[in-house]
């Protein structure tokens, strides 16, 4: 393909994409030129697919055919971000945002809205888009979307994820065009360097510097790798980019190849992400067909190709040297650094490795310039960050906000607060390598350095919200179980350290903690941090150290008082029946799996039957009695 052909292709579907991006009135005007009266976008990301969006699409197409509707375009996109309300369906040009669709709902929408002269079905809309007076706000104005700034996710949920022509119309491959026709490799590196972009995979290393090191390394053969081994549980932004806009990653890797002088790229992606893998394969195939990958890209004389390598379920492979060892077909064990990958990486050649979200920022940096990009964010953290909001929060999903947004804005405004009237306790960032931000630091502007300063880290951007029902000791234990399980075993501090930390935490949660245990944990943690081979071991103690720093009293409560503050640790719990509240119905006793509940001699005033009591020696603390009691007479302490 030539540059001219690419430009023509971009113009071809431009209006179609514009309808989805303009405000309603302009979109309605634009829609007249597209040949489609309406467009229905259905999310085909993992979240919505798991809530059966496939059936929604099938049903939509079937019902439309039955109703003889042929001028409505159905588009299967990537993630819209609001996963908890899936399956989601947006109708343009109105921008009507339908949530939690079922086949019946689809039928209603087709018959009432999609037919010629149809009206929006208000009762099926995402309720935040409907005012009390019945008027409809664009979804971009709802609390969940209003404060977001979508750079990395710019095309997710906007384009058909399996159609390269839509990707091109939405702006993908414009940057590679600009780079190959007007920029030298040094220009590219300077632009990325000046943008201040830092790696979104965890540590936040300046991307431009990585690229300039690799360019400076001598050698004919170099490699460009994409880390899509998103192993951090609770983080799913990389998956969403791959599912929603895979071409932006291919384009950015090509640009990096040009900048450092590489001709081969590898994407290392988790096998646990079947949809992402499938879309990547389709995208690579299409890019080849359109001449945007392979030999002589856009007639520039530059060759670049990309292969996919599937991971097989090893968290440590998210570490760069382990990832490369794994691509080479070996056990994914990390290697000592130096030599750094930019000097000696994959197959012993100079290599750069960036994660998916980092790659997703390259096109806008090239197109809009370093100056624009560096105007967003904080002094040392530029641009935006995508967070996967999860845990005890109303709007579970994917959000992209400028660096420096406070935790309060993310949780209370965008996230819609904590459900069930519970109290916010802390937010966990950085997964098994990170730590907690307690409630009193909720106004901290989130960027790389602030998070490190309060004992956590950005990590890949998982943001798990915890409420008062979460025990911080139990949570640390959970993370240590994870790292102990995932430690590759190559270096001793990590292999034995994670195991011993886990043993001590288990002991504490079982009520067998002793004076001095906290100090032992702290000492061991320091050793692991200073002497482990890779980031997995070095950061494995972070969840413990961070919770110890902010919630030391909970650890002490477990050890000194044999009491779990949050009422989570089973061994420290007891269930009792309030004899004044108990009406003696016996439902608890009938459901108790170990027959630990029986009648007492006491009948509370106003009740007809004697109250029940739990035999603590028999009780296994399963909680069945409490969930069965309709009178809230069972207490957990």
């Amino acid at each position: 393909m030539t540059v001219k052909e690419l430009d023509a292709l971009r113009a071809k579907k431009q209006q179609l994409i514009d309808v989805r991006r303009l405000v309603r009135e302009q979109a309605e005007e634009m829609a007249k030129h597209t040949g489609y009266r309406k467009q229905v976008l259905v999310c085909g990301g993992t979240g919505c697919t798991s809530s059966h969006s496939k059936q929604v699409i099938e049903h939509l197409e079937k019902t439309m055919a039955e109703c003889d509707i042929h001028d409505v375009l159905v588009v299967k996109t990537g993630c819209f971000g609001l996963c908890t309300l899936g399956p989601i369906m947006i109708v343009y040009p109105e921008g009507a945002f339908y949530a939690q669709m079922t086949p019946e709902h689809v039928e209603t929408v087709v018959k009432k809205h999609l037919i010629p002269g149809g009206e929006i079905v208000k009762e099926l809309l995402y309720q935040d888009t409907v005012h009390t007076d019945g008027s409809i706000t664009p979804f971009a104005e709802t609390p969940f979307y209003k404060k977001q700034m979508r750079i990395a996710l710019r095309n997710c949920g906007v384009i058909a994820a399996e159609d390269i022509e839509e990707a091109i119309a939405a702006g993908d491959y414009a940057a590679v065009e600009k780079v190959l026709t007007t920029m030298s490799p040094d220009d590219v590196i300077k632009e990325v360097l000046d943008s201040g972009l830092r790696g979104r995979g965890g540590a936040g290393f300046p991307t431009g510097r990585k690229w300039s090191f690799a360019k400076a390394s001598a050698g004919d053969v170099k490699y460009v790798c994409c880390n899509a081994d998103e192993g951090d549980p609770g983080a799913f932004m990389d998956r969403s980019v791959l599912e929603g806009d895979p071409h932006c990653v291919l384009e950015a890797m090509t640009i990096a190849g040009y900048a450092i002088g590489a001709h081969q790229g590898y994407i290392y992606v988790r096998a646990e992400y079947p949809i992402a893998v499938e879309r990547l394969k389709i995208a690579i195939k299409q890019a080849h067909e359109y001449g945007l990958l392979g030999k002589n890209i856009l007639d520039s004389g530059f060759d670049f190709d990309i292969d996919i390598r599937l991971g097989a379920g090893a968290f440590v492979c998210g570490e760069e040297t382990a990832l490369m060892t794994s691509i080479e077909g070996h056990r994914g064990e990390p290697r000592p650094r130096p030599p750094f990958p930019a000097v000696k990486g994959l197959f012993g050649k100079p290599t750069i490795l960036n994660n998916v979200e980092t790659w997703a920022n390259i096109n806008p940096i090239i197109m809009k310039g370093a100056k624009w990009y560096s105007s967003i964010g904080t002094e040392k953290s530029k641009g935006t960050k995508v967070f996967a909001l999860g845990g005890k929060i109303t709007n579970v999903g994917l959000v992209e906000v400028p660096m420096g947004t406070t935790l309060r804005e993310i949780i209370e405004e965008i996230g819609g607060g904590i459900p069930n009237g519970k109290k916010f306790k802390a937010a966990q960032t950085g997964g098994p390598s990170g730590g907690c931000i307690p409630a009193d630091l909720i106004d901290t502007p989130i960027d790389f350095d602030n998070l490190v300063a309060i004992g956590s880290m950005m990590g890949s951007g998982g943001l798990i919200v915890l409420d008062e029902d979460t025990c911080m000791v139990d949570l640390s234990k959970f993370y240590l179980e994870f790292t102990a399980d995932e430690s590759c075993g190559k270096c001793t501090p990590c292999r034995i350290g994670t195991r011993r930390l886990l043993d001590m935490l288990t002991k504490i949660t079982e009520g067998k903690g002793e004076e001095g245990d906290i100090e032992k944990i702290e000492a061991l943690a320091e050793h692991m941090k200073s002497s482990s081979l890779c980031a997995l071991g070095q950061s494995a103690p972070n969840p413990v150290l961070s919770t110890l720093h902010h919630f030391r009293n909970e650890y002490e409560d477990h050890i000194k008082n044999h009491h779990c503050t949050a009422g989570v640790c089973k061994a420290l719990l007891s269930y009792t029946i309030d004899k004044e509240k108990c009406i003696g119905c016996g439902l608890c006793a009938r459901n108790c799996p170990v027959s630990a509940i029986s009648k007492t001699d006491y009948t509370a005033p106003g009740h007809k039957l004697p109250s029940m009591a739990i035999d603590q020696t028999k009780c296994i603390k399963c909680g069945v009695c409490q969930s069965n009691c309709k009178f809230k007479a069972v207490e957990r302490k």
């Binding site: 798991s50 983080a235 096998a271 845990g391 579970v396 979460t470």
Partner: protein, 165 residues
């Protein structure tokens, strides 16, 4: 048992495996890919299969075994017809997925990592399938079940039991 040790499954399976080895052997770093394909063919990686791969690639069995045991996706033991995978990722864990796992174990009478005697179900835990919006989730085969509570577990498993009667 002797007989099993020598052979690599059925003739079709063996042929498929040979084709995979032949097609990939010249690609650098192909071992993982071959193991993934082999597991797709056999459902797991029995020792004769590993031996055959080692011979086919001209590498030692210990290297193949080392890789096969390093990654959690590979299994040296047969799995159930319906592979249950309960997510114990953070988002699911804070929403009580440990109780979902307990319920599945109780319902099937086996522990995580085991397979039922009739070969119908096996249970594993996994770390995040990325459907955090639906936490807690579990997968049965490729199907994802979200927003679970322990009392929904029996109904889901019963569907599969019913279907295989």
């Amino acid at each position: 048992m002797e007989h099993c040790e020598a052979k690599c499954g059925t003739a079709e399976q063996e042929q498929a495996l040979e084709a995979v080895i032949e097609a990939s052997r010249s690609t650098p770093g192909c071992l993982m890919h071959i193991l993934q394909e082999a597991q797709a063919i056999y459902g797991y990686l029995p020792m004769p299969v590993q031996k055959k791969i080692a011979e086919g690639l001209g590498i030692s069995l210990s290297e193949v075994y080392g890789v096969a045991t390093f990654y959690s996706q590979f299994s040296l033991k047969p799995k159930g017809k319906h592979r249950i995978s309960v997510c114990l990722g953070t988002a699911c864990y804070v929403k009580g997925s440990d109780k979902i796992l307990e319920e599945v174990e109780k319902e099937l009478g086996i522990k995580c990592g085991e397979c039922t005697e009739d070969g119908l179900f096996s249970i594993d835990s996994c770390r995040c399938v990325g459907a955090c919006g639906l936490a807690p989730v579990m997968m049965v085969g490729e199907e994802v079940y979200g927003k679970l509570t322990p009392d929904k577990v029996k109904g889901i498993l019963d569907q599969y039991k019913e279907a295989s009667k």
